[in-house]
Point group: C2
Chain length 431, copies 2
């Protein structure tokens, strides 16, 4: 007999079906036992004669196959239930370290991550990663429509994109190699290779020691790069449309998951832009935060609060960062500034982007001005002498975007199996 | 003025347009200069008054913007040409190390990879990665339709999936960590986490020293895992439909790229299945290759030849591998065999898959029988005591699939920036 998914049961009233899933709850009365069975599409109440279950000793979270008839039942929440005729245990469950079947998982984050396979079953955790998948698929779908090509570039690299700090190093057949901090060099080279528009969904690595609610040592970067732009405005304009598409896509694809998390997807407006120096003035004048050289986490939160209160937008582009604050590939503009931007969403930076330098001479000069040796980047630099179009791009941190959209206080909650300074397996310190 | 893509020029006859791209060829006559300009969508002939070009000294592969009028011209191959009114050089090109504008790139593979940014512009190389992107998008689209969730699992891991050989090691905050050979453990754990069906498109790492035309040290693995299967047949049946979808998708999305490579996408038939031991018998009886213990590369080629000649299929599933040849997570079956398969396509293995063990007791026992210590996999093993559905899955090597579909003799040709024993940057030995 073919398995029926629980979401399809309303179409099978009075029919005999086979369902498979996890036993979420068991309530034994004298003449009847109620089970709640859960599969990837939903939950259903199963009623069984206690004699059917007597020999099975089913524990909660066991995996079962239930054959039975779908019967209308006004007292059941769904209006129907499954009356069991036979029950098989496909795999038992024992000694569960946490109880995952309350409405909210009252367990510290460290334990949630320790017992990830269990905690991911929870009704308020499981949907996070279906929504994340929809964000990614929205990113891919929109960019395909816009003529972008999905690419895959190496993560084992010979040098860092930004001069070598905070890199994980590894042994590569007797040489020292590193894990890529960003596909920056490669996505730029692919502009020169004639693809003009590329995107990549891939892991990036930062060997940063600090453990904050905003950082992961391995995370997923949604990268894109586009050729023949006029300025960084073209990149911001594209990101504005991209985010609107992604958010609409999630709202369409994940109504059940969003409802489970009680999240409403916000409208993406025409996103306001604030130059970096003006942002510092706002922080001083509006919030008394004077003397700042950069936007610290509190500054990002306050700036977002100011923009939301004055324009209604939960997003803000901070533009025109000073030359000192941007890597050597960033296109300079007059006044010691650069053609660059960050995007803040609900108080957190989720994107860095900008126009890049596209001529060999200027790039070599800027590399030297940054105190870096052009030889260290020869394979990258030389490709700029073969005809490189003007171009720019951006990177979105997937876990940060997910966390901000869903109101998760810690970015680790938006990573299936996060890697941080203390966590190299799902099980803290225990392999 | 907005840029017009070259593929849209036929819609703009007699109109003034602005195109941007690379100068592929220059032919100077006394009264007129012909340029071939290329962008990501095609090529067009540009005619210019030599005086327009006199001061510019345009070299081939420079990046230009040409403003002009689209004029019917029966002598031009496309039936029209662009009559230039002004030309700007956006970025020059100089000292090109290889000539990329012949019909075939007559350059050794090592040089093609050394000068990747140039070689990727070639008319017979550029399309490879647009086709590869369509294969991936076909994979993602089909699996989304089938209820799979796209996931991202860590590549920095505490132990190998198959016992620790051929792993790249790295320092992780004072501990030794490794680069993942496969998302195997994580995709299985996500079965237990209730997603039931997941896929991942991500890098995997093999520290294999041998340099063959079939191996890369870093490659893209198309992984999937599905719960509540009856046997490995369900996984093979899904892969059969998946490949048919992916190939149709490529044929629909990439007609221009396939034509440029003179490739016809084959029909994916109902794929024949040959048990492993029978495959060895065929090799002995049909080809005189006796005494084989395993399918070597020549054996894979001969078996595919036999199956193609006898059934017409360019694919063959080899099934029921002996227990000794499969990792500890593979579901055993009677006769010392396993519920496992490989898929060969045109003489090369492109997939390994099978049903996995889903109960804690059997997995712990099989781990010990393989001579491995269960403690090394505790975080993985323990998740099997929390209720794990029967499940199975597979992994497709993206570069191998691309190479076999397009008839590329070396898998490196199907990787944008391949990593092999001698190549840690695009530039051989020169960073």
């Amino acid at each position: 007999m073919e398995r029926t998914l629980i979401e399809d049961l309303p179409k099978c009233l009075e029919e005999q079906v086979l369902i498979k899933g996890w036993v979420e709850r068991i309530r034994e009365l004298s003449t009847v036992t109620f089970l709640i069975v859960r599969d990837r599409t939903g939950r259903v109440q199963v009623t069984a004669d206690p004699r059917l279950l007597a020999q099975l000793r089913i524990a909660t979270e066991s995996v079962v196959a239930v054959c039975g008839t779908v019967a209308p039942e006004p007292r059941a929440k769904a209006g129907y239930e499954l009356v069991a005729e036979s029950i098989d245990v496909l795999a038992g469950a024992a000694n569960l370290p946490i109880n995952i079947n309350g409405p909210v998982l009252q367990v510290p984050l460290e334990l949630i991550l320790d017992y990830r396979v269990l905690s991911l079953r929870h009704a308020r955790i499981n949907p996070i990663f279906k929504i994340q998948a929809a964000l990614v698929h929205g990113f891919q779908t929109f960019l395909n429509q816009e003529g972008f090509v999905q690419v895959f570039t190496p993560k084992i690299v010979a040098s860092g994109t930004e001069g070598g700090s905070e890199l994980f190093s590894l042994q590569y057949f007797g040489e020292t190699a590193y894990l890529g901090q960003s596909p920056q060099f490669y996505k730029q080279m692919l502009m020169g290779a004639g693809y003009e528009r590329v995107y990549e969904v891939g892991h990036v690595y930062r060997a940063e020691k600090h453990a904050t609610s905003r950082h992961l040592n391995e995370y997923v970067s949604l990268d894109l790069e586009m050729g023949f732009i006029e300025s960084e405005d073209d990149v911001m304009e594209l990101e504005n449309r991209l985010l609107a598409f992604m958010f609409n896509y999630v709202a369409e694809q994940c109504p059940r998951e969003l409802a489970a998390l009680e999240v409403e997807v916000p409208e993406v407006p025409s996103i306001p832009r604030v130059p970096f120096t003006e942002a510092l003035v706002i922080l001083e004048q509006e919030f008394g935060k004077g003397g700042l050289q950069d936007l610290d986490p509190e500054g990002e939160r306050l700036l977002c609060q100011y923009v939301r209160d004055s324009t209604g937008s939960e997003f803000v582009f901070v533009t025109d960062y000073p030359w000192e604050k941007r890597p050597m590939y960033t296109m300079p503009k007059e006044g010691g500034l650069t053609c660059s931007f960050d995007l803040l969403f609900r108080g957190l930076e989720i994107t860095t982007g900008g126009q890049r330098i596209h001529t060999y001479e200027l790039l070599a000069e800027n590399t030297r001005k940054k105190g870096l040796h052009p030889d260290a980047f020869a394979f990258y630099l030389r490709s700029f002498s073969f005809g490189m179009p003007p171009h720019g791009g951006l990177a979105i941190g997937l876990e940060r975007l997910t966390a901000q959209l869903l109101g998760l206080p810690n970015v680790r909650e938006a990573s299936l199996f996060p890697r941080d300074r203390h966590r190299l397996t799902p099980w803290l310190g225990r392999r």
